[in-house]
Symmetry: C2
Subunit: 203 residues, 2 copies
DNA sequence: ACCTGAACACCGTTCAAGT
DNA sequence: ACCTGAACACCGTTCAAGT
C-alpha cells in the first residue's frame, strides 16, 4: 500500500513563497509551511533535513521566479537592467533579501545569477578579479537596497521615530526627512546604482 | 529596603555585545544576555519592554563604540574613511550588519552616524536629495559588504558547496573561485567602494 | 524597588506508532 | 513509503510571589 506523496519539492517551495508574500520572510517556519500545505510539521522532513534547508530551498526558489541577467546587452546595461528587475522582485518578498545576502553562496539558483552576470562580463571582455569585484559590488548593492526598502515597510508610524522624538539632535536628517520616505527609496536606489556602475568604469 | 539595581543600561549593552563577539548576533536573546549578566531572564524587563527593544539597544550600542564620520576631510575622503572603519567594526560583530540594515531608522546612535555623514556633505556644499542619495548608497553598501563577509565566516567547508558539487554548471564562478574566498572580500569591498564614491561625482 | 520561579504559547526536532 | 502525535528542549512573555 504505497500512497503517492501529498506534496513534492515544487509544491513545498510554492507554499513557502506564498507564506513569504503574505506574511514576510520571518514568518517562514517548519510549522507555517506545513500549515500552508495542510500536513503535519514532521511531514516536511521527508524532503528537507532541517529548518535551515527548508529556508534555503524556499529562498532559492525565489531566484528561479526572478529575472535572469540578459546576454544581449553591453555589460553596464545588463548590470543595470538585472539590478532594477531583481530589486523589484525582492521587495515583493519582504525580508527575503536579508536572508539571501547572508546565504547566497549556498543557494544554487542565486549562484546561477552570479554565474550569468560573470558570463556577461566575460563576453564583454572583462574577466578575473575585476569581473568578480564588479559583479559582487552590484549584487551586494541590490540586496542591500532591497533590505532598506523592507526596513521602511512598517509605515511612517515608527519610521525615524528617534528623529521625530528629538529633531534637534538630527538637524540634517530632519531637514531632509521627506527624502527618507519609502516612496523616495526607489529613486535613491537608481541614483546609487548609476553611480556604482559608472564608477566601475566598464568599457 | 530598596536595593540598588544589579545592572544598568550600560552593563546590559556590554553584556549583549560580549555575547555578539563570542557567539554572533543570532545568539542574542533575552535568556543569553540574562545569563551573561548572571540574572534571571525576567530581570531584563525592568529596562526593556520586549526582546525587540533589547536587540535594538545592543545594536545601537555597537554604533557608539564604532567610528564616527570625520569633519576634517573632503566629502569623498570622509565617506571612504568612515566606510573602511565601519566595515572593520561590523565584521567584528558577526551578523550585526544584517540587523542594522533593516532597523537603522529606529536606532538613535546609527542615525547619529547618518546625521554626521549628511553634515559633512552639507559642509562640502552638497545638500538635499543628492546628499541623501549619496549617503544612503554608501551606508547601504558598507552594511551589505559586512553581511557578505559574515556569510563567508563558516569556513571553506560549506562555502560555494553547490559550485564544488557541480562545477560544470558554474564555469565562470569555478574559474574564479579563489576570488570568492573570504580573504579577497576586503579587496573587493575597497574596489566597489572606490567605484561607488567616484561615480557619485562629488565635487 | 527589584528580582525570581512557575507557567504558557510558541519554535525545531526525536522517536515511536499508525496506514 | 508516507504521515501523524506525543514528547522534549528551546525561546519570549505573563503573572504571582518573594525580599
Amino acid at each position: 500500500m504505497t500512497r503517492r506523496p501529498q506534496f513534492d519539492a515544487a509544491s513545498l517551495c510554492e507554499a513557502g513563497l506564498a507564506v513569504v508574500r503574505r506574511e514576510g520572510w520571518p514568518a517562514v517556519s517548519v510549522r507555517s509551511v506545513a500549515d500552508e500545505l495542510g500536513v503535519s510539521p514532521m511531514a516536511l522532513y521527508r524532503l528537507v533535513a532541517d529548518a535551515g534547508e527548508l529556508r534555503r530551498r524556499i529562498a532559492d526558489a525565489a531566484a528561479v521566479t526572478g529575472p535572469q541577467p540578459r546576454h544581449d546587452l553591453p555589460l553596464p546595461d545588463a548590470l543595470r537592467t538585472w539590478a532594477v528587475g531583481a530589486h523589484r522582485h525582492l521587495v515583493r518578498h519582504r525580508g527575503l533579501a536579508s536572508f539571501v545576502l547572508v546565504h547566497w553562496t549556498e543557494l544554487p539558483a542565486w549562484l546561477d545569477v552570479v554565474e550569468h552576470l560573470l558570463s556577461v562580463a566575460h563576453d564583454d571582455g572583462l574577466d578575473g578579479p575585476a569581473a568578480v569585484a564588479s559583479v559582487n559590488a552590484v549584487f551586494a548593492y541590490v540586496l542591500a537596497r532591497a533590505q532598506v526598502h523592507d526596513a521602511l515597510a512598517g509605515g511612517p508610524r515608527r519610521q525615524l521615530a528617534p528623529v521625530r522624538a528629538e529633531p534637534g539632535r538630527y538637524p540634517h536628517v530632519w531637514a531632509n526627512r521627506p527624502e527618507f520616505a519609502r516612496a523616495r527609496t526607489e529613486r535613491h536606489f537608481l541614483v546609487g546604482l548609476a553611480a556604482l556602475v559608472a564608477g566601475l568604469s566598464l568599457r
